[in-house]
């Protein structure tokens, strides 16, 4: 009987905390993210803002000093749409990581643009994650360093031209 009460109380408490978190997400999120290391507490605010359309590019510096043209790293999921993605969609994993990292990087860059330099951004885990990913994309043997940039575009249906929101330093390969 005591065991039953403990289980029932745990379920009730878990539900109450989840409700509170949905109601006060903005206020509680910094505290929750700090302590909830496994991100157990769910936020059900799915598509609570319209996502921005970011594009990720990289270019290499070759041994002779020339720069290669910018190349886009496709973070879009739909280069090839197929019906079976409804059941089986392992291709979703990598683009979703890119999308989250790029989004986080832009937020960070926009927060720090005015008063902090690129050097402070380079120490962040988000930057290091992005640099790790870009660095490990295959490259020409004569390439010695790589740089990445993020541009903001405005969706599939748009006539506006994209704008650069972030450019990294060159990193040795």
């Amino acid at each position: 009987l005591i065991g039953e009460y403990i289980i029932l109380s745990t379920l009730a408490l878990a539900f109450a905390i989840t409700v509170m978190y949905q109601l006060f997400t903005r206020q509680l999120a910094p505290w929750v993210w700090r302590w909830d290391v496994c991100r157990i507490l769910p936020s059900y605010r799915l598509f609570s803002s319209i996502p921005r359309d970011f594009r990720l590019y990289y270019r290499d510096r070759l041994q002779n000093g020339t720069l290669t043209p910018w190349q886009e790293i496709k973070i879009g999921l739909y280069s090839r749409w197929t019906w079976w993605h409804a059941v089986w969609h392992p291709q979703h994993l990598v683009p979703s990581v890119y999308a989250t990292l790029v989004d986080d990087m832009v937020r960070l860059a926009e927060c720090r643009r005015d008063n902090q330099r690129l050097a402070s951004l380079e120490k962040t885990v988000i930057y290091q994650g992005l640099a790790h990913i870009v660095r490990h994309i295959s490259h020409d043997t004569s390439a010695v360093a790589r740089q990445f940039k993020i541009e903001e575009a405005y969706g599939h249906v748009s006539t506006r031209s994209s704008r650069v929101v972030f450019v990294s330093a060159f990193h040795a390969l």
């Binding site: 991100r39 749409w81 291709q91 969706g155 599939h156």
Partner: protein, 268 residues
């Protein structure tokens, strides 16, 4: 006995459906094993930098490559067994803790990268099921677990709906287009089609908004009114899976429906 009258049957269906999602998710990750390798997008070498304690030896040993892949394989086997024998005493006694622990490790290793709403809902469901499994003979605990899962499902829809109601694009009827127009979410052909069919866009946007906000009524409306919400939910998630490729969302959210059916039938 059906899921509407027997709580254990309803729990069996919750386990079976949620385990399908875990099975697909685990196998998808196993197939993408290079992603978790030292040079991969989800390499432990940079993910471990997120927090100080993740850089300790035991975390490296547990969450690094290839031990994490073995953990995913174990998770897949547990999920497969639960799909086939959801209520078997030994299978649920071993399978439920394995899924909860490996899901926690996945969250610890990756969050928030490569994880989304379906992973969190799955963890909530299996957490509740694990609590139920600690007192499997108790009818009260079985009913409370179903209530918890049904309420979590309703809370998720209502939160998603009411948050959208404060966004101008959703109120103006262009929210669905705005989401699908983002290349990393929606296909170009659909964005262009919706752009040329604004009435369809408005209908889809407002239907989503309205149904999400009103979804908690599924618990009080009774039969057959509840079928309206459940049918919409099935169409919504299957549509999202087909169009947006959000395949694991289907299983995570539809796993809450047997609980809703039971709660509705048993009376509020």
């Amino acid at each position: 006995m059906s899921m509407a009258t027997d709580p254990v049957v309803a729990l069996g269906w919750v386990i079976r459906i949620a385990a399908c999602g875990v099975l697909i998710d685990s196998v998808e990750k196993l197939v993408c094993w290079p992603v978790f390798h030292h040079t991969g997008v989800l390499s432990w070498s940079w993910l471990r930098l997120r927090r100080g304690f993740l850089q300790r030896g035991w975390c490296d040993a547990m969450l690094g490559f290839p031990v994490y892949m073995a953990m995913l394989a174990l998770r897949a086997v547990a999920a497969l067994l639960l799909v086939i024998y959801p209520l078997h005493v030994s299978v649920s006694a071993l399978g439920l803790p394995v899924i909860v622990l490996t899901s926690l490790c996945t969250h610890l290793r990756m969050a928030p990268y490569g994880l989304h709403g379906a992973h969190r809902m799955t963890l909530v469901i299996f957490g509740a099921l694990l609590l139920w499994r600690m007192a499997p003979a108790s009818l009260v605990v079985a009913k409370a677990t179903l209530w918890f899962i049904a309420l979590q499902g309703c809370l998720s829809y209502a939160t998603a709906g009411w948050v959208k109601a404060f966004i101008p694009a959703w109120r103006q009827g262009t929210g669905a287009f705005a989401i699908i127009n983002v290349p990393w979410i929606g296909p170009e052909w659909l964005a262009r089609w919706l752009h040329h069919h604004p009435l369809v866009t408005k209908a889809v946007t407002w239907l989503t908004l309205g149904m999400e906000c009103a979804f908690p009524f599924v618990l009080v409306i009774g039969y057959p009114g509840n079928l309206v919400f459940i049918s919409w939910g099935l169409l919504f998630h299957c549509g999202n899976a087909l169009i947006l490729g959000l395949n694991t969302f289907v299983w995570a959210w539809i796993a809450t429906y047997p609980a809703m059916v039971y709660v509705t039938a048993s009376g509020v």
